[in-house]
Amino acid sequence: MTGLLGKRRKLPLALAVILPVFLAWVCAASTAWAAVVLDASYPYSLGGKEGGPVYGGSTLPLYLHLQSYDVPRRQPVSVTVTLPAGFRALPGTGWQPGPGGRQVTTHWVLPAHFGQNFDLLYLEAPRGETDGIRTIQVDVDGGTWREHKTLSVPYRHDGGGAAAERGSAPAQGRSGRNFSWYIQSVTLPVDSTGARDDRKAERVLYLRDMAFEGLRNRVLGDGATSWSAVYNHPAAYVSLQLRNPQRDVRLLRFKAELVDRRTGRVVPGLTTAAKINENEEYGWNAPADEKNATTAMISLNGSKDQTVVLPLYVDYFHVLEGDYVFRVTVWGNGQEKATEVPLRIEQKNSLGLLAVGIACGCFLFVLGFLPKLKQCIFHVGARGAITIALFAAVAFGGITVPTTVAGELLHAMLGPFAGFVTGLLSGVFQYLLLVSLVLLYRRPGVPGLLYLMKFFLGGLLFGNFTPLGLLSCCVTITVLEGVFWLTGFYGKREIGRPYMALVATALGLADALLTFLNMEQIMFFYRLYYADWYLALYMLVNGFLYSSVGAWLGYGTGRKLRQITGE
């Protein structure tokens, strides 16, 4: 019993001794089993082409990777890189240079259990040294342990093309060590493979019309439009030709912006892929400070010539048509290169469709206005109706017949500029007749009846019953009735000269609008093209000038005719 008791007393004692020993052994074993693997590579290439020569003047990354296993707790380590003579580490990357600049040091913390630490340290090779093998030493000091790696690097004083490249490099990059890579050219638009379509005009960006995007998606059953999907789809691709005579390997940042040609300010138009309708989401390439720009990362892979194809994202709701300066900025590791090329943004607009839509609206208006026209006939009486008919006959004989017969001949001789000659009839004479008629019969519907008569006469006698003719007639009736109503012409007691000058100006402006709408309809229905300047000139001369002059002459004629009728 005593022996048993004695054994029982010894057991806790034994445990008290064995357990700490066991624990100490476990700790020691775990520390002993902990491992650190150091991996270093220079020159490191993102493209996997490692171990090549280092050329004088080039900036190449030293890749450091420290992998730790079974580390019981977080552990600070210091990493020291000893450079060969003449080599220099680029500043600003978290590394502190030691005395003499041959050594650079940084401090890492190994996480508990398992961890990986890695970094790229950019080293600039010296120029003009003799070719040979250089040695880079990497030391990792963990307090109780050390890791060491030696890298042998073949050095060559020149890349073979660098000297030649210096002759063609941009002036701002030649001096000193700033010259390493530069933007040779910018090409756009290209496709996603960088190929250019010769059928497309260079430096012209055609954008799709997003006006019906919401409707399109709803009709197709896709529900509400996913604007993030729309914005994430590149509007075009830009090809960047980079020259890299020093064969640098590095990561660069790219930024493309639209710049106003006059003010030089960055204007809205380009955006990042990550933009959504809430305008808050940021993707991998869209830091928060980048507005109105498309950004991306570029990897210089060490080739002397490198073509990079980058997507351009457009902010469809803010971009405007026009001529811009397309500014491309590429920067990284203290170097920044920018280049600018002209760019024209053209959006497929719906002006023709809009004009046809307005014309259809005017057609409906005239349909609704027909009872008023009939009422107008009763108001002006038989005499007024016959006067309108005879004025329409004069308009047909004096405008439609000559412009149909002689107009074709003029069109053949003068081409699109024939309109400026025939416009004397369709502008001056037409408005002379109109204003003199409405001075005789100041009632809503009189201009409408005149134009309706003219249209029917053209249809009955020349077979000009076309949808375009009908729509143009309806637009004219609507706009002119609107102008007379808005200027208060029908209700005015006395029509004096200053007031008539105002009405003539208003009629000129209205006819400029009519000219624009009719030309847009012609371009839409007949698929014809007219230059913007031609349209503007046509609106100014045929629309505003001829019509205003005609209206003013009509005022004089109308007053005399009123004297004749004794009213």
């Binding site: 005499r383 109706a385 047909f396 081409g415 009955l460 077979g463 019953f465 698929r527």
Partner: protein, 291 residues
Amino acid sequence: MSMRQLWEGNDSAPWIRHVTGETKLLVLLSYSVWTLAIDNPETLFYLFAGTLGLHLVARTSRSKWYVLAILLLLGLWGSMFSQALFYTQTPRTPVLVLIRPDMPVLGRLTEGLFVYREGILYGAVQGLRSAGMLSLGLLVCWTSDPRQLLQALLRWRLPAQIAFMLVTAIRFLPVLAAEAGEVLLVLQLRSGSRRGRRAVLRHLPYVIQPLLTRCLRRAQTLALSVTSRGFFLARGQRKQAPLPRSERILCLACLAVTGGVVVSKILYVLSEQGFYWGAFRQIYDGAKLYL
């Protein structure tokens, strides 16, 4: 052949003169819609050739063929001319420089004016639209009495008062032309110089006022006559004979084809915008190939 004879429709084949105004107007309107909807150059050409074929069948006189040919050629040339200058699609090849982009004022305003080779061809193709409409319009005009077409408009519920105004305008067109000639002659005779006696353009601006004065006087006389007979307020319409069966079939066919062309074209354009439905694939194919 005088201008008046040229525009009278009594020398064409009897069958086309007997076709009612409604049918002619409906065919004309349908044809206009087809030409506006169609983009395919071959189809446009066949449509245009069809109108010439109709002129042949209608036995259009030789003098009218001359007029038609001149108007068509001038129209086509005009279209080619304008599009050669303003063609904006790519590729385009400038064959002639009219205004250099670096020319002061005009160059900056127009950014250069060139004659583009592709534009000439494009203008010819697009000119087929207006050429076809002109050709068919003239056929209708040359083979119909204006009263026949007016009758058609009345059937389509054109108010009688507007119809009356139209008849008045048509009736007095030759009279007004003669009066304008008389005024012009008087102005020429009153001219103090020899050159003035021959000039027409110089006196034209002065023709307007006397002509309009005569219009007013004539309107007063006519109004008295019309009102005294109570003609102007007449509202009743005589019952019209129904369309012949063959014409009814033709009109229905025209409407059906027009509807088909318009719907197919709209569906095809919508498919280009992303509104694509698989069930209409054959319509898309047809529209792409022929429209």
